[in-house]
Symmetry: C2
Subunit: 367 residues, 2 copies
């Protein structure tokens, strides 16, 4: 589609601002939508977002075509809808967008966490959306960025390779093609089961937060999360959770990456144990813990990542008692039923499916 | 029995040395047994233990009648056997003592943790012990003490009132009478279900260790365990575990004390939440965390306290998913099956019993 592709970025947080501004700087017509108008008023007044970054990174004023909190406006002119909101909001975005979607549009969840595209599809169907829309999700967010002002964003890093999968996977190639001129970084993620089950945050974030709960709350997170917080015992818990995740993936026919493989691939960090590999990743030094347990590491990663992994495990016969323990402790700490809020199989619209049917659905056996 | 009562103290750790020396200072004939002879050689050579304490506490040289690692010698001359070993060793002590026990002897587990007396009884039966021995357990250890030398012990505090129950409870009065001249601090603990289910360490120790796992291992426990380690979220977990424990107790017909009630009773510490009540207990300030996770707070309190509570819950229909989560994380951290090592109902010899039969057993309905 070239520079003609009309993007709408849904969500004006750290990631959404970075994406909207970066796309605009590349010359694409960009609409930025945010549910709360107040948060984008300054951007609307100035007509765009100021971007900073280091070295070769994007910088300058990204002038936006449109800034709106009206979902109809946001959707109708777009070729590609880039959803950059916490995954807890994916279902609401789907319901709000459903009446306005039309044939040929592409929706990309940045990222899907676990089951994002499946949940989006389920909500569109329940909203009687008849449009032939392609839903895709990425394995992780492309940007590491921070917005320190209403119309400013600083981009620290743009990842070099981010897996993306469409639902069904037969459409992945066309999505990658549509995004290629803007984002050559996106690569074929095989299927949304792969992107969803290669979710490392699911393994790292909630367990690290809970096994350091007292320290996070009594020091407001003033310690190195992945260094001081990852001790040999804590790492053993991560290893068990990771093994459960990979086993769940195997039960649905997927060869997921282990955390060790991911550390090697993403950071060339190795070790004989996960403890060593994490401590051998220089990038983890200096990253402080979240300042509170009311943080997306629990509020998002438990319901949107751990719950669907555990739900798949239960459905297809994999013991997930380690993951269950973490979910349970998160429920207690937040006095919240994360199972009810979370992506159980009914929320993903797959509770009736055999493993074969599930694979048909994600790979391209859709009716 | 007066000063004629012949005591044998089994176990020469911090608590056993304090008890042996204190009994000797009171004028009782005392035998001290320890499984490993090396640990009591100096005591044997000197003939006793030097005691220090503050204020009105016991002090001086407690001369012992006998120091031995021979169980037959330890058992045969005793009227009362005071077992002061980690509860993980109760079953071994029972098996080793079984051939030597005779009618009329009293065995007191200091303390029983959860199910100590029941487990001791089961092992004696399986060892074909025919002697009419009275088994009792205390709710907590009478002494706060520390042994800093091979034949020295410092007593910090002797608790004023410690519940004790015999199995069956019809024998509690005679045990209290036999101990009265040495230990007027022991009071009627109603039944071994009460002493076992009023086990506060079960609730506090493993959860606090695990929810502060990263900090314990990365600082070697250099923080205030009950202050820095008990934050509002951590305390919410304790509240849920405590509620499960009290509900398990209710399911077997017992009104257990809540942690809040215990803090009020033991320390006059109150608050609207458990977090507040704990922080309102001045005695908790300055107590540092264990230096490692390989500590009895997990290695003993999980198998000997949490497992039997969870096992009773499962058997009698109480949801114990919070406790289960803590047990599971402990298993993972220590790569140990604490369910297999722990006091499940078969280990307690009660797996076939209805609630009525269990109560008959502990109260005095024994055949």
């Amino acid at each position: 589609m070239g520079k003609e592709t009309r993007f709408t970025v849904l969500g004006a947080g750290h990631g959404g601002k970075a994406m909207a501004a970066h796309l605009a700087l590349q010359g694409f017509p960009v609409t930025l939508w945010n549910r709360t108008l107040d948060n984008i008023l300054v951007i609307a007044l100035r007509g765009g977002i100021e971007v900073e970054s280091q070295d070769e990174g994007p910088r300058g004023f990204g002038r936006l075509a449109q800034v709106t909190s009206d979902m109809k406006e946001a959707v109708q002119g777009a070729d590609v809808l880039m959803v950059v909101v916490p995954s807890t909001a994916h279902a609401d975005i789907a319901a709000a967008a459903a009446p306005h979607l039309r044939d040929g549009q592409i929706v990309v969840l940045n990222p899907g966490r676990t089951g994002g595209a499946l949940e989006f599809r389920r909500v569109l169907r329940e909203s009687d959306c008849q449009a032939d829309v392609t839903i895709a999700e990425t394995e992780t967010l492309l940007y590491a960025s921070r917005s320190d002002g209403p119309a400013q964003v600083r981009i620290f890093r743009i990842k070099e390779a981010v897996p993306l999968a469409a639902l069904p996977a037969t459409r992945t190639a066309s999505v990658l093609a549509a995004l290629a001129s803007a984002y050559p970084q996106f690569i074929d993620g095989t299927s949304v089961l792969h992107t969803g089950l290669n979710n490392m945050g699911a393994i790292f974030h909630p367990a690290l937060a809970l096994l350091n709960a007292g320290r996070i709350e009594s020091t407001s997170g003033e310690f190195q999360f992945y260094i001081d917080g990852v001790t040999p015992s804590v790492a053993r818990v991560l290893e068990v959770l990771d093994r459960e995740r990979v086993t769940v993936a195997a039960a649905v026919g997927i060869r997921a990456r282990t955390a060790m493989e991911w550390l090697k691939m993403a950071y060339n960090a190795t070790g004989t144990t996960l403890y060593e590999a994490i401590h051998n990743q220089p990038g983890y030094y200096g990253i402080t813990a979240p300042p509170t347990l009311w943080h997306r590491y629990i509020t998002e990663d438990v319901p949107m990542s751990l719950v669907p992994i555990a739900a798949l495990g239960r459905r297809y016969g994999v013991a997930v008692s380690g993951i269950d323990s973490i979910i349970r402790l998160a429920c207690v700490v937040h006095q919240t039923d994360y199972w009810r809020r979370g992506r159980t199989l009914d929320k993903l619209g797959i509770e009736q499916l055999s493993v074969d049917e599930l694979n048909q659905l994600v790979l391209g056996g859709e009716a």
